[in-house]
Amino acid sequence: MRSKVVLGRMLKNRQARYGMIAFVALVLLAYVGPFVGPYDWTDKDFLSFLVPPGGDHWWGTTTIGQDMYALTLRGMQKSIVIGVLTALIATTLAAIVGAFAGYFGGWIDKALMWGVDLLLVLPSFLVIAIISPRLKESSWLWFVVLLAVFTWMITSRVVRSMTLSLREREYVQAAVYMGIPRWKIILKHIVPNLSSLLIIDYTLNVSGAVIGEAALSFFGFGIQPPEVSLGTLIAEGARNATGYPWLFAFPAGLLVLLVLSINLIGDGLRDALDPGSNS
C-alpha cells in the first residue's frame, strides 16, 4: 500500500517526526491547557494589573487584569482553527478550479485562469482589510472565507498544468470511452492523482493562514474584539513590549513554534510523498 509506504517514510524522517510531536503538543496545550490553569480567559483579576509571570498568574496579567496563560491559549485555539479551515477551503478550491480548467480547456480554461490572474493582481491585504472590520456583527467564519479566497490561486495554476498531462493518460482516456461523466473523471481519476501535491500544499497553507491571520489582526483588520487570536494578542503586546515583555513574548513565541512545527511537517511530507523533488 502506498499510504503505508508514505507513512513509514514520514515516520523515519526526523524533521517530520519532530514537527508532528511539536504540533500535537501545541494542540494539546491549546485545548487541554485551559482546564489546568486557575483562571478562565474571560476572568478579570481586579487586584492584579500587569503582574509579571509568577505563581498565581503563570504567564502574568494584562492591563485590565486578564490572565495571560488563559488568554494566550484561547487565542491559539482560534489561530489553529482559522489555519486549518482556511487551508481546507483554499486547497479544495485550488484543486477543483485547476482541474476543471486543465481538463476542459477552451473558454472555461481561459475564463478561470483570467479570474486567477485578477485575484493575483488585486491587493489581497487591502481588500481583506477593508471588508473584514465591517463584518463585526457576523461570525469570524467570514474572515476565514476571505483569507481562503486570496490563498488558492498559485496552487490552482500548478494543478492545471499537471491536469493537462494527466488528461492524456491511458486510464483517463479509458474512463472517457467507458462513458463516465466528466465531473466524475475529474473527481475520481484526476484529483486523487494530484493528492501528494495537494497534501503538501494543504500543510503549507495552514502555516500561511496562521501568519496571515496574525498579520491582519496586527493592524486590527482581522479577528475583532472581544474575540482573541494570537494576532490580536501580539498586536496588543507589541505596543507595550518594552516595559512588559511577557505580553508579547508568550503569544509571539507560540505563534513561531506553531508555524515552525507545521512547516517541519510540510517539509517532511514533501520528502516522503515526492522523493524526487528537492525544493
Binding site: D117, L118, L120, V121, L122, P123, F125, L126, V127, A129, I130, I131, R134, S207, I211, A214, A215, F218, F219, F221, I234, A238, A241, T242, P245, F248, A252, L255, V256, V259, L260, N263, L264, D267, N278, S279
Partner: protein, 326 residues
C-alpha cells in the same frame, strides 16, 4: 515575439484597470470619509461638509457610479484625486514612493546577495556542520513573521540603548530633523536604516539561501562542472564561472520580482519603525477612510506586480536559452 509582448501588455493594462476599479468601488461603497468631519468641536454645518466632500469627490450622497466616472476620468489624465483632507494623492504617492525606495533598496540587495552567497556556500559544504547550521537557521527565520522579528529587534535595541545610556542605534523614523550638515545627516540616515534593513533582509536571506542551495546542488552533480574541473580549471573557478552562474537563474528571477515590487513598500517594517512609505500608506489610508488614496495604492500595487512579473519573465528568457526555444 513582438506580437506576444504587445498582447500581454494590453492584457495587463486591462487587469490593472479592473483591479483598480474594483478597489475603488469597494472603498467608495464601504468607507465613510464624512466621519472625519462630523462630530468636530465646534460642529461643522452639514452644507459645508457636503460642499467640501463634493470638492474632493468623496460625498457619499453622490451616486457611486457618478463618483467613479469622475475619478476614472481623472486617473486617465494622471490625476489621482484628493485625499480626505484635500491634499493631492499624486504628490503624496510620489513622496512615499521615494521613502519606500530609500528604505528597501539596500535591504533588497543585501538580502539577495547574502542569501545567494550563503546558499551557494552551504551547497558546496553539503552535510557539513556549516550547511546544517545555515539550513536550520533559515528554516527558523522563515517561521518568524516580519512583525514579530521587527518588534523583537526594536525591544533588543531599546534595551541596548538603555543599558549603554545613550542612543547607539535609532529605531523610529527616517532621520532626525534636528541634525544638519551633509555628513552628520547621512550618518544619521544610515543609522535609522540599520534596524529596518536587518528585519527586511533576514527573511530574504533565508528564502534565497534555500532556493540557491537546492539549485546549486542540482548543478554541482552535472557533467559540465565535472568536465570543467577535468579540463584543469581550479575548483574555485569552476564553481564560480560554471556552477554558480547557471544556478543563479531561479534566484535572479525572484530578485527581479522583488526589485519591481520594492516601490510598493514593506507594510509591517514601515509601520513598526515609523517610516511613512507606500506600505504604511496602505494601512493609513484604510484607517483614515481615504477612498482615493486606497484606490491609488491598489492601482499602483497592481501595476508594479504585473511589471515585476513581466520583467522576471523576460529575465528568465534572457538567462536561460531553453526557455527561448519553446
Amino acid at each position: 515575439m513582438g506580437r506576444y509582448l504587445l498582447r500581454r501588455l494590453a492584457m495587463n493594462v486591462v487587469l490593472v484597470a479592473i483591479a483598480a476599479s474594483l478597489a475603488y468601488m469597494l472603498a467608495a461603497t464601504t468607507m465613510n470619509p464624512r466621519a472625519s468631519y462630523e462630530g468636530r468641536q465646534p460642529p461643522v454645518p452639514v452644507e459645508v461638509i457636503d460642499r467640501t466632500l463634493d470638492n474632493y469627490n468623496l460625498n457619499d450622497k453622490t451616486p457611486v457610479l457618478e463618483r467613479y466616472v469622475r475619478w476614472a476620468s481623472g486617473v486617465v489624465t494622471g490625476d489621482f484625486g484628493s485625499k480626505w483632507n484635500g491634499g493631492s494623492v499624486g504628490e503624496e504617492m510620489g513622496r512615499r514612493i521615494g521613502v519606500s525606495l530609500r528604505l528597501l533598496f539596500i535591504g533588497t540587495i543585501v538580502g539577495f546577495a547574502l542569501g545567494v552567497a550563503l546558499g551557494a556556500y552551504s551547497a558546496v559544504r553539503q552535510y557539513k556542520l556549516s550547511d546544517r547550521v545555515i539550513g536550520v537557521g533559515s528554516f527558523v527565520v522563515m517561521a518568524i513573521p516580519v512583525f514579530v522579528m521587527a518588534t523583537m529587534l526594536a525591544i533588543a535595541t531599546y534595551n541596548l540603548n538603555r543599558g549603554l545610556g545613550f542612543t547607539l542605534i535609532e529605531y523610529t523614523g527616517e532621520y532626525n530633523p534636528n541634525v544638519t550638515g551633509f555628513w552628520p545627516l547621512l550618518f544619521n540616515r544610515l543609522n535609522h536604516l540599520i534596524l529596518p534593513t536587518i528585519s527586511l533582509s533576514l527573511g530574504a536571506i533565508a528564502f534565497y539561501s534555500r532556493i540557491q542551495r537546492n539549485m546549486m546542488l542540482d548543478v554541482l552533480g552535472q557533467d559540465f562542472v565535472r568536465t570543467a574541473m577535468a579540463k584543469g580549471l581550479r575548483r574555485r573557478t569552476a564553481l564560480f564561472r560554471h556552477a554558480l552562474r547557471t544556478a543563479l537563474i531561479p534566484s535572479a528571477t525572484y530578485f527581479a520580482f522583488a526589485f519591481g515590487t520594492m516601490f510598493v513598500g514593506a507594510t509591517f517594517t514601515e509601520k513598526i519603525f515609523a517610516w511613512h512609505g507606500m506600505g504604511a500608506w496602505l494601512v493609513d489610508s484604510i484607517q483614515q477612510n481615504d477612498v482615493n488614496s486606497v484606490a491609488a495604492v491598489a492601482l499602483f500595487t497592481a501595476a508594479c506586480i504585473l511589471i515585476a512579473a513581466f520583467i522576471s519573465d523576460l529575465l528568465v528568457a534572457a538567462l536561460d536559452p531553453r526557455v527561448r526555444v519553446s
